[in-house]
Symmetry: C2
Subunit: 239 residues, 2 copies
């Protein structure tokens, strides 16, 4: 079965590749059963928007495949990208739980399949299954702590070079490729990277050029190779 966007559909959670390592795995069978009953699945093309910052929370999305960009933007149009979500992530959790508005905007950046659970269904489910509620609290705590780490690197304003180095190291760690050497595809535009580290597009270009000149990185098209992990790490720690 294929979606309109050439996306392989994952039939249900039992066969989902993220079954093992994610939030609601080893719950009691009854809980799992209930969960599948209240879950609806859908696919989205690149460019679709799951929800928008400020919109009242409708419910949570569980990312099955594809990538989604979470961002927030100021009145003057400036945008800050907070995270690129991976399959297995829950989107819109804090807003759904607290009942406030979504605090970020979620844009699909590549064809994506996601499950949806409405707010009321989800809250009832949690109330009936304490174990799941604790799991959710844990997930929230972790989200909080990473958002927080993010915030530190932006807030305690390091230089643009430091922030970019940190970003590359993080990205490399999550997108390790095969052969041992740290080489990966960086599918974001300079503009997007700029928005992730809180800098301008031009600065990103310049710092990349600088890193290349200093032999910290090698860049060919969208593929990046880290030539000197230690060099980047040295940049990250203050001074």
């Amino acid at each position: 079965m294929r979606s309109p966007y050439g996306l392989q559909i994952i039939e249900n959670c039992a066969t989902c590749p993220h079954k093992e390592d994610r939030l609601f795995c080893n719950l009691a069978p009854a809980a799992l059963q209930r969960l599948t009953e209240i879950t609806g699945s859908a696919t989205y093309p690149k460019g679709a928007t799951l929800f928008v910052e400020g919109q009242p929370a409708r419910g949570v999305f569980i990312l099955c495949s594809g990538h989604v960009k979470l961002s927030t933007s100021a009145s003057d149009g400036k945008t800050l990208i907070l995270r690129i979500s991976e399959p297995g992530d829950l989107l819109g959790l804090p807003a759904t739980i607290s009942g406030r508005a979504y605090e970020v905007t979620a844009d699909v950046i590549e064809p994506t399949q996601a499950n949806f659970i409405s707010r009321t269904d989800f809250l009832n489910f949690l109330r009936d299954h304490g174990e799941a509620a604790v799991r959710v609290a844990q997930e929230l705590s972790e989200t909080y702590q990473s958002a927080f780490a993010e915030m530190r690197t932006i807030g305690l304003s390091h230089s643009a070079g430091e922030k970019l180095a940190r970003f590359i190291l993080d990205w490399g760690a999550n997108h390790k490729s095969e052969n041992g050497s740290v080489k990966f595809k960086l599918t974001l535009t300079h503009e997007e990277i700029a928005q992730m580290i809180g800098a301008s597009r031009e600065t990103v270009t310049r710092v990349f050029a600088d890193f290349k000149k200093k032999n910290l990185l090698q860049i060919k098209g969208s593929s990046v190779t880290i030539k000197s992990q230690s060099g980047l790490e040295r940049l990250v720690q203050g001074s």
Copy 2:
């Protein structure tokens, strides 16, 4: 009964003035009973530290009275103050739930009474009382969303003036005093304010002077009066 620091001690949660509006109020009596069993109380002098960023989480603190400063700091010594906690707040919740290290440092800035619940006791309590777990998830979500709002104002770097204006409006909103006009005590040093908005001490001084000159504020010692709410609000919204 008085503590060594001249602090009025609150005997137990039943008589606590925050009983009504806080996290674990209208729980089932059994849950409340269990909660008091696992809660220990203590008082702390100004300057004491409840926990330090990076330390493994021991448990949560419930602030009964006094104020606690939550901050994080970078290797180069720069500090970012995230929040001044008020009585009724839970401190160290995300770290305690997730089992990771405390993500902030909590320093007592005025004599304080706080209750403590150890991590294992707390987790067991949550598992046994699903309703409380949902409550905790809500609290986490809200903490997350405010931290997040904080992050936006710092990250989408507005000018120092904008950030200070926003800070003053927020502070004023939470510390409204009597007579209708917005006048309040600002018990923080310029240094601390600087750390809250991510600026240097001198800049804070200068912007304050500027606001005073523009008749937005009136400052006498540590008491601040907002002369033109609308003027400040105009500064806040971009451009």
